[in-house]
């Protein structure tokens, strides 16, 4: 049977930004295996016992305390999130990790990360790990208004953060894409996460700059031939079977066919690796 559920104690309910809840869980059993890009499934009980596997990206890991922070994704139906109303001490049933770690080749020293208020939950752990490992990281973050921008205190000081807000209330007025040009050449590796409009805009902006993909050892082992794509998109999904069988999380385009719950969240863009097929 798939990974069996683990019981986790809720330590605290916090916020990455206003309205973006994050749960701090006591999770000694799973913590060692968690890497940036991983998510956990929170088995949230509906009325009458029907439980859903709700995808919660891992935003921070504290190996000493044995605690893991996960973000609650906003629901497409705008529904009230009952998990955000739990009080510390509550028990939660968790399964995971879901998906694969995000691959950043060891020789990629300058990393550009582009995100928005929804995508931030998928890159916080990555940016923190890369910066702590001494790589130079630039984070472009886009939001409608200043209030939606996560606080810089959530990331290591060494990370260079540029903010763009639609209403100009903070940083550059406009979208993160306006700021990409100056970093496109500089970056060895680019990672984008957030609304689909942002992902397409970043892909278009980078298509112009012709840097070759980097070939890395791990990429070969995983039969992905042409190495890690220079641009990786982190695609989110909300809920599903988590076992690759329902087709609910399949991201498909001309070159890729990725099941986000198995091979996601990273999807190679700009003709990177050969189609990442579900290996069996």
């Amino acid at each position: 049977m798939g990974a069996s559920p683990v019981s986790a104690r809720l330590l605290a309910v916090g916020e990455l930004a206003p309205g973006r809840s994050a749960l701090l869980l006591r999770l000694p059993e799973l913590i060692a295996g968690l890497r940036p890009g991983h998510a956990l499934h929170l088995l949230h009980a509906e009325a009458g016992g029907y439980r859903l596997r709700r995808v919660a990206p891992v935003t921070q890991v504290d190996l000493i305390a044995g605690s893991v922070q996960v973000a609650l994704q906003p629901r497409a139906d705008g529904g009230r999130d009952s998990l955000a109303e739990l009080t510390p001490g509550a028990q939660l049933s968790v399964v995971g990790p879901i998906g694969q770690p995000i691959e950043v080749p060891t020789d990629a020293l300058q990393i550009l990360v582009v995100t928005d208020s929804e995508g931030f939950a998928w890159v916080r752990f990555l940016v923190t790990a890369l910066a702590t490992a001494g790589r130079s990281v630039v984070l472009l973050i886009e939001a409608h208004t200043a209030a939606e921008v996560p606080s810089a205190s959530l990331l290591p000081e060494s990370v260079e953060i540029l903010v763009a807000t639609k209403d100009g209330s903070l940083g550059h007025q406009g979208g993160a894409v306006d700021l990409i040009a100056q970093y496109a050449e500089w970056a060895d590796q680019v990672i984008a996460s957030g609304e689909s409009e942002l992902l397409s805009a970043v892909t278009r902006a980078l298509r112009a700059s012709r840097k070759p993909d980097r070939i890395s050892a791990t990429a070969k082992r995983r039969g992905q031939g042409a190495g890690v794509a220079r641009l990786q998109l982190l695609v989110a999904h909300e809920v599903g079977c988590g076992s690759g069988v329902c087709g609910g999380c399949t991201y498909r385009n001309a070159t890729v066919n990725v099941r986000l719950c198995r091979e996601g969240p990273a999807v190679p863009a700009l003709g990177g690796a050969a189609s990442k097929r579900g290996a069996r």
């Binding site: 049977m1 029907y50 439980r51 859903l52 079977c241 991201y251 069996r280």
Partner: protein, 323 residues
Amino acid sequence: MGERLAPGSVSSAVSLGGAHPLRLERPIVTASGTLGFGAEASELVDLRDVGLFVTRGVSLAARGGPGLPRVVEVPGGLLHAIGRENPGVDEVIDRHASAWRAAPCAVAVSLVATETKSLERLIARFESRADQVRADAYELDLTVPCDALNGARWERSLEEATRFIHAARASTELPLIVKVSPDAVSVRALGEAAADAGADLLSVSGSPIGFLPNRSRTGGALAEGLGELSGPLIRPRALAAIVEARGTLPIIGGGGIGSPADALDYFAAGAFAVSLGSALWADPALPRAVLESARRSAAARGLSQIGELAGLALGGAELRVRG
């Protein structure tokens, strides 16, 4: 009511249908599409606790699916649109037929077609590869769009659905399950048409359609726009459809089962077997739990077979069906 029995002594086998009876060791069916085509199903659920595994929908030619998002949460369940995506009958047989042969339970293949010609060729394809394919029954999916109804489902037209069922019946001797949802034009009329056409079972377990705008309300929450609904929110409507269909054909009841207690409602409303779908994802042990609670419930009523639970809520007199 007879006096109590020991739960263990209650038999769970049900033999359903007349001319082409389908014997299930356990009255538990997996809903098509929720456990995949076959190869990976037993990774999630122990099929020994199941009576019938129904595959994800298979069509003659490959069908692509819509963009993401394809599945979103709604109060009380899920809204989803996968578009009956599948690689086509040959690809599915090549990769999943071995898992069907090895399955510790009966296997039904779910047939997806938008017009009768390709349905006939789809069944012929399965029957021509009978050496590799072990299928104990076919499930004809009437919740799929029908070309002749410009995209509306087969189940929305009694005439089109009847022709579709006859085409399936004429193409095979295997037990034939007709699957409908509460959106059917009339679940009762479809049950009668299926019985007249020689179908063996009626599965009243499908997803009604649903829609939600996305948060900025400029488009749908799903890329596809309209989608299908699963989970507890469809339970009371599904139970009413089961009551409406009672007596036309033996019924597999489902759509919205989240717990063993829910499952007992479907037996009580008239089902001989229950279909478990999206609840399996988070609760893989649900089949065994449903089996045990059905046994206890039958034993407490002195019934020696789980099948005798069917229709208890409707008592003797036919419930005044005014739906």
